[in-house]
Each structure stands twice: as structure tokens, then as C-alpha cells.
């Protein structure tokens, strides 16, 4: 199976090399593409030197646009499986074989976390968010989910094509699940360990988290009622 690992990165020079080395160690057969989303540091040079392919966006387009570029790259190059992974090292490369092994039976395999980082405040806020969105998605899709905000996922050919067509622009994780369910995809979760982030900080501040909750809830509800039909020349 031709496998691609997509790593969206924005100013991740502190961790990107470790992440690539870990992947090479635990999933040596997989190709790696780093989507360098307008970084102003040495992310691009370091990723290239570490042996990854690098897609450098001319300016910052945000996580959704960057991730979708990775899926388009996977589609264009005929990959069977595309795995998205964070550049900050919180997704453990040891878990990659687990995701890849389930990817032949399911359209999307989500790595669900057991272990949470222990910083009290972010952990409480985050836990509330994780439970809320999992309940919401479970309600809307009538399928049980425990970790809809996880960005550690393996996508099969069908999902690669669907995500190349449409991918939510900001805070995409939750809505992108509902979109796939509406398209009749089979999704499963597997338990994966997650580490506390090695460098950098979460992009979600308290004020942003309020916006995040409202925006994602709206997006999920809209997505649940939508027939996705991309029009010519733009995304649906």
C-alpha cells in the first residue's frame, strides 16, 4: 500500500526534524510530505534536509487549506493511504502501524487519545470541548465517537478524493467527520497514545475557544443538513 504522511507545519523548526526521524524509524515505507504553510523560520529547509517532500504555501492559508493541499498531493500522486499528523510531536509515530493496518477496512481511521496532557486549565477546557463535540457528532451521525478533535488520522482513497474536493477551512477536525458520514464513509477509532506537545503552544486561547465552540457547532449542524455538491471552479 502506497502510504503518505501529511504534516502541516507553521513555524515548527523546533520539532519538525524529530517528527520526520520518528516516522522514518517506525514507518520507513511511508513517504512524508510537509505542508509548510507560510512559515517564517527554517521549517522548509530543515524538513527538506530530513528527507521529506515539502509543499511550501506562498502565504499562510490556515490549517484547513494546508491540510487539503496535502490531500490533493496524495490524490495527484495516487497514494492509497494518507495519514495526517501534527508537526509538534504530540502524535506518536509508534502508533502509525496501528492506523495503517486498519486503513484497508475503513475509509477513515481516527487515533483517539487516552492520555491527556496534564496542564490543569487547558486540560479542563479541552476535556469539555472533546466531550461536547464527541456527543454532538454522535448525535448527528448516530455513530459513537470518543475523540472527534483528534488530528491523528488515516484516510483511504475514497476520503483522499472527498477531502481534495471539500475540506473545512478553520478548526476542520470535527466537521470533516460529519462530512464523511454524510458521504457514506466507514469510520472507526483506534486508541493511540499522545504525548504532551514538545515545543510551541496550543493555538487555542480562551477567547478563541469560545469562537471555536460556536463556529464548529454551527459547521457541524450545517454539514449535517447539507448535500455536498461542489460547483465547477470552486469548493462546494
Amino acid at each position: 500500500m502506497k502510504t503518505l504522511i501529511i504534516i502541516p507545519a507553521y513555524n515548527e523548526e523546533g520539532s519538525i526534524v524529530r517528527v520526520i526521524q520518528d516516522i522514518n524509524e517506525h514507518a520507513p515505507e511511508a513517504d512524508i510530505v510537509v505542508v509548510n504553510d507560510g512559515s517564517t523560520d527554517r521549517t522548509e529547509a530543515l524538513a527538506l534536509a530530513a528527507g521529506a517532500h515539502v509543499l511550501t504555501m506562498p502565504f499562510n492559508v490556515g490549517i484547513g487549506g494546508g491540510m487539503q493541499t496535502g490531500y490533493m498531493y496524495a490524490r495527484n500522486n495516487g497514494y492509497d493511504v494518507a495519514i495526517q499528523m501534527d508537526a509538534d510531536g504530540q502524535h506518536a509515530a509508534e502508533e502509525l502501524p496501528k492506523l495503517i493496518s486498519r486503513a484497508s477496512e475503513f475509509d477513515l481511521v481516527i487515533g483517539s487519545r487516552f492520555v491527556e496532557e496534564t496542564s490543569f486549565r487547558s486540560s479542563v477546557m479541552r476535556r469539555i470541548g472533546i466531550i461536547f463535540f464527541s456527543k454532538l457528532v454522535t448525535l448527528v451521525t448516530r455513530q459513537k465517537f470518543t475523540d472527534t478533535t483528534s488530528g491523528f488520522r488515516a484516510a483511504g482513497k475514497k476520503v483522499i478524493a472527498l477531502y481534495s474536493d471539500y475540506y473545512p477551512m478553520d478548526y476542520p477536525e470535527v466537521e470533516s467527520i460529519v462530512y464523511l458520514i454524510r458521504k457514506g464513509c466507514k469510520i472507526t477509532e483506534v486508541a493511540t497514545e499522545m504525548r504532551a506537545r514538545e515545543t510551541g503552544r496550543s493555538s487555542i486561547t480562551p477567547l478563541k475557544s469560545v469562537y471555536y465552540m460556536i463556529k464548529v457547532t454551527l459547521a457541524v449542524l450545517m454539514s449535517a443538513t447539507r448535500q455536498h455538491k461542489p460547483k465547477a471552479g470552486e469548493m462546494g
Partner: protein, 115 residues
């Protein structure tokens, strides 16, 4: 010169400016349609004030010019909504272009290395 005469001139001028902008290709036809509609309505109202007064008394509005503000405001909302739809479409298209360009650039640089 009364305010009625002035508003006839102003709304006529407004229509002329809109048409001129379209003619000079400073304004796309599709976006000019709403402005032309607005200009024509403005022109009709200023030609015949009785119209707006009749409408006001029919709707139970005591101060007839308030009708103008109401419709002016509604028109602005409609046009701004239309504009944000245009912005959404444009940003989707710009993103697509950026993505296609990025993928193409990477392909080119890889081929460059192989030669």
C-alpha cells in the same frame, strides 16, 4: 429649487455614474444590476413623492421619510450580504489557486533536481 427637484437630479446623476462605471469596465454588469435597481427606485420616488406617502399611510408609518431610511437600510443589508457572498467565493477560488500553484511548484523543483 426645492428638495424634490434636487433629489430628481441627484438620483438621475447616480444612475449616470453607475452606467458610466459599467461602460468604463470599473464595475461588472452583474454587480451593477443591484445599483441600477436602487437608482431607478430612487428616481421614481423623487419624481413622485405621493407614492412614498401613500405607502407610508398604508403601512401605518406616521413620518413618511422614515420609509426612505427603512428601505435604504434594507438595501444596504442586502448589498452587504451579497458582497460577503462574493468574498466567500473569491477566497475559495484564491485558496484553490494557491494550492494548485504550490503543488505545481513542488513538482517542478523535484524535476529540476532529477535533471
Amino acid at each position: 429649487m426645492t428638495i424634490y427637484f434636487l433629489s430628481v437630479i441627484l438620483s438621475f446623476l447616480f444612475l449616470v455614474i453607475v452606467f458610466e462605471l459599467v461602460r468604463l469596465q470599473k464595475l461588472k454588469e452583474q454587480y451593477s444590476l443591484l445599483w441600477i435597481l436602487f437608482g431607478v427606485i430612487l428616481f421614481i420616488i423623487s419624481l413622485n413623492v405621493k407614492f412614498i406617502e401613500a405607502l407610508a399611510s398604508w403601512l401605518g408609518v406616521k413620518y413618511a421619510p422614515a420609509m426612505l431610511f427603512l428601505f435604504g437600510l434594507l438595501f444596504c443589508f442586502a448589498f452587504i450580504l451579497h458582497l460577503t457572498m462574493v468574498v466567500t467565493k473569491l477566497s475559495n477560488q484564491v485558496l484553490r489557486l494557491t494550492q494548485e500553484l504550490t503543488i505545481r511548484k513542488e513538482k517542478e523543483s523535484r524535476h529540476g533536481q532529477n535533471d
